[in-house]
Amino acid sequence: MSDFINGFWPWYVAAISLVSILACALLLWIAGKTKVQVRAGAVDDNTTGHVWDENLRELNNPLPRWWMWLFILTVIFSLAYLAIYPGLGSYQGAAKWSTQSEHKDDIAALQVQVAPLYAEFSAKSVEALARDPRALAIGERQFMNTCSQCHGSDGRGSKSYPDLTTGNAAWLGERSAAHIVQTVTNGRTGMMPPMAAALPGATDVTDVAHYVLSLSGSPFNEVKAFNGKQKFAVCAACHGMDGKGNKALGAPNLTDDYWLHGWGEAAIVNIIKNGKANVMPAQAPKLSADQIHVVAAYVLSIGGLPPVASATAAK
C-alpha cells in the first residue's frame, strides 16, 4: 500500500475492516440467540397485532434461518479472502498475489507457449520467414503495435517517415535483411547540414532546388536549373554528382519520384536552407531479438519479394 505516506493509515484501514467484519459476526450471533416475546396468534396470522387506522396491520415476516447462514458464510469468506489476498492495510496476503505478479505470470506463460514457434522462426533466415504466412501474421501484428504509428498501417510512411514499400533504389540504406534488423535494433540518425552558408548567393538555393527538381523529371525552370547545376557541387559530396545518393551515408536518391521530406520548390528550398535531422528510435528495448527477426521479415515482405529463383535453379 504505497498510496499512503504515513505508516498509520494501513493500520487504521485494517482495523476498521476487521472490526466491521467481527461486528457483523457478533450481530449475527446475538440475533441468532435472541428470543423475543410475540403475541400468541402471531405465528399463525403473521401479524404483530399492531392495528392503525381501523384496518392497517403490521405484518411480521421473519427471515428464514438458512438466510442467516448465508450471512455467516459471507463473514467467513471475507476473513478467508483477507487472509489470502491483499486488502488488509499493507498486508500482502498469504498468496502474495498482485496485479503485477499476475501480469508477469501471464507473460511468462505466454512466452513458454510461443517459445517453440520463435525457436523455429529464429532457425530460419529473415528472407525465408518473409515467405512464411504464420511469421508474417505475427510480424504484421508487431508492426501494427510498434512501427505503424510512424510508418503507417500500410508501411508507406508519411512526410519524414520513410515509405517501406518502395524498391531498393528509393531506400536511404540497403533494402536487405541485415540492414533492416540493424535499423530496428539500434535505430538510425539521419542528418543533412544546413547549406545556406555554402550557397550564399541570393538565387543560389532556388537554383539548386530547380536543378534537383530536374533530376527526377519534375516540372522545373530551365534557367534556374542550368544555374543550379554548377552550385550542386556542394551537395555532391553526399548525394553524388549524379544525385543518386549514397546508401552508406543514408543520403537519399534525388533522381526518383519519392520525396521523403516533401515535394516541390518550397519543400526543397526549406531543406537546403535549414538542413534536416531525423531519428528512428532503437526498438531493442521493446522487442526481443527473436521478435525483431520476425518483424524484419514482415518489413521485407511488404515492399514485394523477388521471385523465388534459387529453389528452381537448384533443381
Binding site: 416475546q37 404483530t48 397485532g49 428464514p64 505503424s148
Partner: protein, 496 residues
C-alpha cells in the same frame, strides 16, 4: 401452541411486538405473559411434504417439463454445417445459433430477446397470473423432476414423513443415499449440458470420461450441478418465497381480472366433515358448504399454503390444489371447480367464463400486447434484413495525411471486415462523399468463413479537391452475391 410459562425466567429481553388492545387484537385479554409466546427472530425451517397429484393441470406441467427439458438437454447435440448447431464460443467471441453467426456487436439482439421475455412475462401475468412460475420456470420444472425421483425412491407424502421420523436404519440410509445420488447425477448432467453450450459438447463428453476438462469447465459443471441439486432438492419453495425477484414484481401486473387459482368461498364454506350419503339439502341444513375439509389441497401444495385463505404471495399458480380438489369433488359426486382458475372479479360478480374472457381485452393487456408485438416485429425484421458482415473503420492516427507523387493527398485507414457467414466471402470497397477520392489499394478483399480481417486501405484525392481540414467521407463495402452494402462513415483529412 401452548402459552408461554412465566416469561421473565426464559427470556432475556422483550421486543414489544405485542398486541395493542384494539380492533383485531381484542381477543388478547389478560396479562401479557399469558397471551404471548417466545420465538426466535428467524423463521425455523418447515419441511414441506407435497403429496403427489394427477389431473389436467398436472399433465400440462409434465408436458412443459418434457418440452423444456428436451430442448435444454437436446439442443447441444444437434449439428449443422459441420459444427454444433448452437454454440456460444466465448474464446473466439462467435455465437452460433443454427444458421446465424453472431458477433459481440450483435448484443442488441440479446437485448431484444430480453425485452421480449420481459414483455411476455408482463402479458402472461396480466392475463393469467403466474403461468410462468407454475409451469415453465426452471425452479418449478426441476423441482417437479426431483420430487418425482423422491416419490419413486421414498414413496409418497405419508411414507416420506414416516421415513424422516424413523430412527437411523439401513433402509433409511439406503433410500436417502439413493435419492441424493440420483439428484446429484441429474444436477451434474444439467451442469454438463450447460457447459456444452459454450464448449463443443461431444469433445466435452470425451473429456468428462477421462476427467480431463479444463479448470473452468470443471468449475461450471460442478457449480451448475450443485445449484440444480441445491435449488431443486433442498431450497425448492424457499427460492420462490425469498430469492426470486420475478415472484415479487409479478404482483404489480395483477389486477382484479387476472386469472388466479381461487377457492370458491361462497360455495365451500362452512367447511366440515359430513357423511358421504348426506344430500346437499341435508349438509346445508347443518350449515356446511361443499368443502369437506379433507385438507388435501394443503397437502399437495408445493409451497405449503392453504389456498382457502385467498390469494397469497407464496402461491405459484401450479394448480395442484385444483387437480386434487376435483378428484375429491368427483368422489363426493359434487360438481368440480370448488377450487378453480378464476378472476377476483369473476368470483365476486359471479361472471360466466365468456364474461371473464371478454374482460381480457382491457387497456393493460392491450398495451402489453402492442408493445410485445412491436418489439417482436422489430427484432425479427432486423434479423431478416441484417447484412451478414460488419465493418469497422479506423483512421490511421500516426500520420494524418501524406502527399504522394505530385500533389495527391493520401489518407490511410484500417478496415476490420467481419464475415458473419460460414463461407469465404469477397468484398468490394469504394468511397463516396469526398470529391475525387478513390481507393488506390486493393479494392477486393477476401475474408475467410466466420473470420474477421484487418486491411489497410489507402484513399487518394487530388490536393485541390477540397480545402484543408477534415471532410466527411463514406466507405461503401459491398458483399458478394447480393449480401447488401454497408456504409461506414469516416473522414478524409487534407493538410495545410
Amino acid at each position: 401452541m401452548p402459552p408461554d410459562p412465566p416469561a421473565a425466567s426464559t427470556r432475556s429481553r422483550v421486543i414489544p411486538i405485542v398486541a395493542l388492545k384494539t380492533g383485531a387484537a381484542d381477543e388478547l385479554a389478560g396479562s401479557e405473559g399469558d397471551s404471548s409466546v417466545v420465538a426466535s427472530l428467524y423463521q425455523a425451517d418447515k419441511k414441506i411434504y407435497a403429496r403427489s397429484v394427477s389431473g389436467l393441470f398436472s399433465r400440462w406441467r409434465w408436458t412443459l417439463v418434457w418440452a423444456t427439458q428436451l430442448v435444454f438437454y437436446g439442443i447441444p447435440w444437434l449439428s449443422l454445417n459441420d459444427r454444433q448447431a448452437v454454440l456460444f464460443e466465448l474464446a473466439s467471441r462467435r455465437f452460433y445459433i443454427f444458421n446465424l453467426v453472431l458477433y459481440p456487436q450483435d448484443l442488441i439482439y440479446l437485448t431484444g430477446l430480453l425485452v421480449i421475455s420481459a414483455l411476455s412475462l408482463f402479458l402472461f401475468t396480466a392475463v393469467a397470473g403466474r403461468l410462468w412460475c407454475g409451469y415453465a420456470c426452471p425452479q418449478t420444472v426441476y423441482t417437479e423432476i426431483f420430487m418425482w425421483v423422491e416419490r419413486k425412491i421414498e414413496g409418497d407424502r405419508a411414507a416420506r414423513m414416516r421415513l424422516d421420523n424413523a430412527p437411523l436404519s439401513f433402509a433409511k440410509v439406503w433410500r436417502k443415499g439413493a435419492k441424493h445420488a440420483v439428484w446429484i447425477a441429474i444436477g451434474l448432467w444439467t451442469g454438463f449440458t450447460f457447459v456444452g453450450y459454450f464448449t463443443p459438447i461431444r469433445e466435452l463428453a470425451q473429456d468428462v470420461q477421462s476427467l480431463s476438462m479444463g479448470p473452468w469447465e470443471w468449475f461450471w459443471i460442478v457449480f451448475y450441478g450443485f445449484a440444480t441439486y441445491g435449488n431443486a432438492g433442498w431450497m425448492r419453495e424457499q427460492v420462490c418465497k425469498y430469492m426470486c425477484p420475478y415472484a415479487r414484481f409479478q404482483s404489480a401486473m395483477f389486477d382484479r381480472d387476472t386469472l388466479i387459482v381461487t377457492y370458491d368461498e361462497a360455495r365451500g364454506e362452512g367447511r366440515g366433515v359430513r357423511s358421504r350419503s348426506d344430500t346437499q339439502a341435508q349438509y346445508q341444513a347443518k350449515g356446511l358448504g361443499d368443502c369437506i375439509d379433507c385438507g388435501l389441497c394443503v397437502q399437495v401444495c408445493p409451497t405449503g399454503i392453504d389456498i382457502r385463505n385467498g390469494l397469497q404471495y407464496e402461491c405459484i399458480s401450479c394448480s395442484a390444489c385444483i387437480d386434487v380438489c376435483n378428484t375429491v369433488m368427483d368422489k363426493m359426486h359434487y360438481p368440480r371447480g370448488l377450487i378453480r382458475y378464476s378472476t377476483p372479479n369473476g368470483m365476486r360478480l359471479k361472471l360466466s367464463t365468456a364474461a371473464m374472457v371478454r374482460r381480457v381485452l382491457r387497456p393493460r393487456v392491450l398495451i402489453y400486447t402492442t408493445a410485445l408485438l412491436t418489439v417482436c416485429i422489430a427484432v425479427l425484421g432486423s434479423l431478416v434484413t441484417r447484412t451478414p458482415f460488419k465493418v469497422d473503420v479506423v483512421r490511421d492516427r500516426g500520420a494524418m495525411a501524406r502527399i504522394v507523387g505530385q500533389g495527391q493527398i493520401e489518407n490511410v485507414y484500417r478496415l476490420q471486415i467481419m464475415n458473419a457467414t460460414e463461407k469465404s466471402q469477397q468484398y468490394q470497397l469504394s468511397v463516396s462523399g469526398m470529391p475525387g477520392a478513390r481507393v488506390v489499394s486493393e479494392t477486393s478483399v477476401q475474408v475467410d468463413a466466420a473470420a474477421a480481417r484487418w486491411v489497410a486501405v489507402r484513399v487518394q484525392a487530388p490536393a485541390d479537391a477540397a480545402g484543408s481540414g477534415s471532410h466527411p467521407m463514406v466507405f461503401q463495402i459491398t458483399g458478394s452475391g447480393g449480401q447488401g452494402v454497408l456504409a461506414e462513415k469516416s473522414a478524409f483529412l487534407v493538410p495545410r
